[in-house]
Symmetry: D2
């Protein structure tokens, strides 16, 4: 037990709840403070009851008073930020400037050159940017970002393909869950018996973030269409990848299934045994079925339908990732665990 | 009024009902007979009431007795066949052999070399195969096929692109409606809050049928993934097309929106004014919203999100087509209308 | 053709569109003006395209400019008001005061003693209140209200039961469609794979409005629970009614199925042949299947599962009514037609 | 640890999986055998992978070979039977006759006079029927039944009301999840954007089973309508109960919330701290949100909207119960735990 005190900013939203769930019995982190926009001053447990899925919080968390999101009111070693985009940049900078290490899954800082954008299995070395960030910005704290929930499953699977075969380009379509749009998010009148073929800024983010994280020798071209489907959680992506050389489906499945990284080596508490689970059944992965997959539920991405694409150097596959766990709270907690083990936080 | 007597085989299924609806006040065709597997001997109106969406059939159709699907019992100039795959080949051949012209949206005959596979706007000339088919098979009747419901929207949009710019290859993902799986089709336990990333044989059919219909100088490579989503009707396809030369989105939209074919020239009764409707809104097309689009509801395919793909010679767009109308009964009736006007039926 | 000029207030919402659809080729009414809160000054057709289901408006309607909702800008004989609750009272009174006859499906005026609350088949005589309303309020115009979309199916079926057998009390549960909540209405995160067992003020409205419309000798007690289910349109109500005397299911079905009223007698254009359709199938009515029922689609309510309740004087049944047609635009248009025929508008 | 060996019959269905999940780390029971209709001879883990939600089975369960459902092949102290209705009676009798204690959530034996129909909190005394059952039928084993998944939430809440106030009659409507229909169950074409207002035999079962379990002085009349809604799991019931005397909502909530029974007294492993959770929020309970409620997830039923009905002696409320846990595997396991503690199994 490391007993690191953490604070969850914006703790009452969909992803905020996921942080509380994941951190409720965590061997490194203790939730010592929560903040929110509404219900400031209320007991956390009372607020969560109002809204959404029943979660059984331990009493020491449920009894926390909701604080305003203000560095002067927060006492913690590390803060997690699932803040809404419109307030995230400013608030996170205030916290970093006030000396806090901020791990964020919000978008504003992701593409800043001096901010690490991290998937712990893929690019742990990006954490070395923190030093320069502090110096350049004159902060005693720092901001570390995790990628867009849609990018995670795509990048996680591209990494071992890029390392082994080289990736020339990626064409794909996502079928994304409504929890990815926050709350209230998409009106049910638009979503029942329907598909929405557009998610604002999402296609650009996937391409940019994937290239920043993979940092290949040359920029990989992406041709992505992002859509919203009537699924509560679990983002599905259907990809068609051109490799630098031909590869059989069997080779590709082997490369994906055997992929591991720093979190597995360090046996981080939130690290799944296998970051990528490859399924052989014809009709998998499916978001409702596979969003809880893995030894740490929701932290593995699940791949299926691996097969040749339109040529022998093209591969097609479908990947499901849990957007609120691996693509949200779980990814950020895993990043913080890595920072702890590497002595950065 | 041409007063051509027609018979709808398998009239009580999902697509069968669409035939009845479309043909209920048709200027060329009169439904004089219906057949079915179950409920033989019952009055059609009684059977339809049991099952599904209320349709207001004219009395002369509702009062028809359901006959067995047997050429000896049928009296008609033309028969429409929305029969299930497992019985379609044999039954359709019995009818053709018995002298009937069979227009079918079932799959078994589609890839037969001597069977026209027709989208009236795209390849009306394929009807000329009938002559040889009759000769070769010794039939007094003939079989004419319409394509897979998923292929229709894809091929309809590729045709004008191929003609104007050339098409090098097509990568895409479909999000298909459950009505495309027939009845009972997909269990709701698999479909609520879920996506199924596989439809049997569908990807092969799309590629094969598209190439047969477009009959380009060389076979176009396809990299298609077909998925099922919780939508009642309306198939969505998200496509990334490599053209033989670069083209701007504006050029492409203009080419798509201005596309017309034989049905528009001949002013066929079921022909929509515009086979392809191009929308400019960021979040269209959507299946529930656009499946009834067009001057003949459900007969136009709707395209949106036309934009550059990963290079200047790649274009991306989303297309929604009505799988039970344009991809089912409506497409077959339009084909039959074309045959009437060309003196073939 | 009567050529009465009408204006649709708030024409761009879900129910507003239904008015446009129903009025687009109406023998009495011509849509000469539309108003809205947003997009004032735009062409109506451009605004509708943005949002929701494709409707094929005639050009003379699509080309109308959206006016502000201001009596000084409106020129019409009659105005229809599907305005949101928060603005309806004040705006409707401004129009009535300025001399317009306002037919509204908004709630604020419904329970006013001097305002007719009308289901044309049930209580056409309520229109006689208009005279006193004008006098009392000093208006040259008037307000006529139609009931809550949920009350319509319930009251329509209670009327013939009350007339023939007497109704002692009504216990029931509704399963209401999301279109009843307007737009954006219910977040999809709350509605997919879920039921919401509460709709604000709805239970009170059903009881109060039913009693006002039925105006029985004594107030009928209601024990209603209203819930929201993932259905686009079509409200389902499951009712258990105590009659003043025992009755067999056969008697009850006969009474319901043979019910007609003033609209049928006057052959009003929007009157369905049968206001109540009784189905014998075990699993009907269903909202998706029956919301378009009847000779004027959506204007009939559909009843099924008629059977004895917990005693011989209790009857149970399920009724589906179309909340945007019969419970919205269609009900209001039918009321206006009745007023025209009775020389009131 | 009691180390009682159990066998799960029909282990690969929806409810079968729930048994495996609940029993996977159980302090009393060890799963030593599983049976199935299909896939006999396969390894259990391989079969489960094919189908549905990922569950992390311990290896000693996953590695079990699927046996035929035949008493001669089974070695266990107790068998759990989530068998389909059509085979349950015969198979369960074979097992009981062969000496096994069978705890079943299938329907065929429930109404047999000598078979206990048990909700452990409500009527633990019913287990005393076993003695006579064995004698009468000449069995060395016995059959103990748990009620229909819909009846559980209704009866659990009626019990404390009956004890404290007396229950005169119950009128209600259920909104049931599709998992209650088994697999494949309801076609998605019938369920998306729809409600099905009929479930075969369900209304009769609820009334009969409730009366058997509550065994009131006189038979309570029920007026229940059962419907199916697009929800994966969690049955909702909206009830209107006439009490023998008037009671305030506050009294009723207190009586419900404080209800406990034998399982709580005996601290059985699967017993929730509170069998009935009463919520004060206006829009609760909801099936997706509350189906996992309680200290043992899914074992508590959740009540909300407690309020006066149409008179001061009528109460209305909504209850959500987890049909696959409390109304399925969990209820049966709790019953078996009770039998172990009482020395019956």
């Amino acid at each position: 037990l490391k007993n690191i005190d953490v604070c969850v900013l914006g703790a009452t939203g969909i992803v905020g709840r996921e942080y509380l769930r994941i951190l409720s019995n965590h061997p490194y982190f203790r939730v010592r403070c929560v903040t929110g926009r509404r219900s400031v001053g209320s007991k956390l447990a009372d607020t969560l009851d109002e809204g959404s899925d029943e979660i059984n919080l331990p009493k020491h968390i449920g009894n926390l008073e909701i604080l305003p999101t203000d560095p002067a009111r927060v006492d913690a070693d590390l803060v997690f930020s699932p803040l809404p985009t419109d307030v995230a940049r400013k608030t996170e900078e205030e916290f970093a400037s006030a000396g806090f290490t901020v791990v964020t899954d919000a978008s504003p800082h992701r593409m800043d050159e001096d901010v690490p954008l991290v998937i712990p299995e893929v690019n742990p070395e990006a954490l070395s940017l923190i030093e320069g960030q502090k110096r350049k910005r004159g902060w005693s704290g720092a901001v570390v970002a995790t990628p867009n929930c849609t990018a995670v499953g795509i990048v996680m699977t591209l990494k071992p393909l890029a390392d082994r075969f080289g990736v020339e380009n990626v064409v794909g379509t996502t079928l994304q869950a409504i929890s990815g749009a926050g709350y209230p998010g998409v009106p049910s009148f638009d979503m029942i018996d329907n598909v929405i073929p557009f998610i604002e800024n999402e296609e650009e983010k996937v391409a940019q973030e994937a290239n920043k994280i993979l940092s290949a020798a040359h920029r990989i071209p992406f041709g992505i269409t992002t859509t919203r489907v009537p699924v509560i959680s679990g983002h599905t992506a259907s990809l068609h990848v051109e490799l630098a050389r031909s590869a059989t489906p069997e080779e590709i499945k082997e490369v994906l299934a055997s992929f591991t990284g720093a979190p597995q080596k360090l046996r981080l508490p939130t690290a799944p045994e296998r970051p990528i689970i490859v399924r052989e059944e014809v009709a998998r992965p499916q978001p409702r079925v596979d969003r809880g997959a893995g030894s740490v539920p929701g932290m593995s991405v699940v791949v299926g339908r691996v097969r040749a694409g339109m040529s022998a150097s093209h591969v097609q596959y479908v990947v499901v990732s849990n957007n609120t766990v691996r693509g949200g709270a779980g990814g950020a907690v895993l990043t913080a665990e890595l920072m702890v083990e590497e002595g950065i936080a």
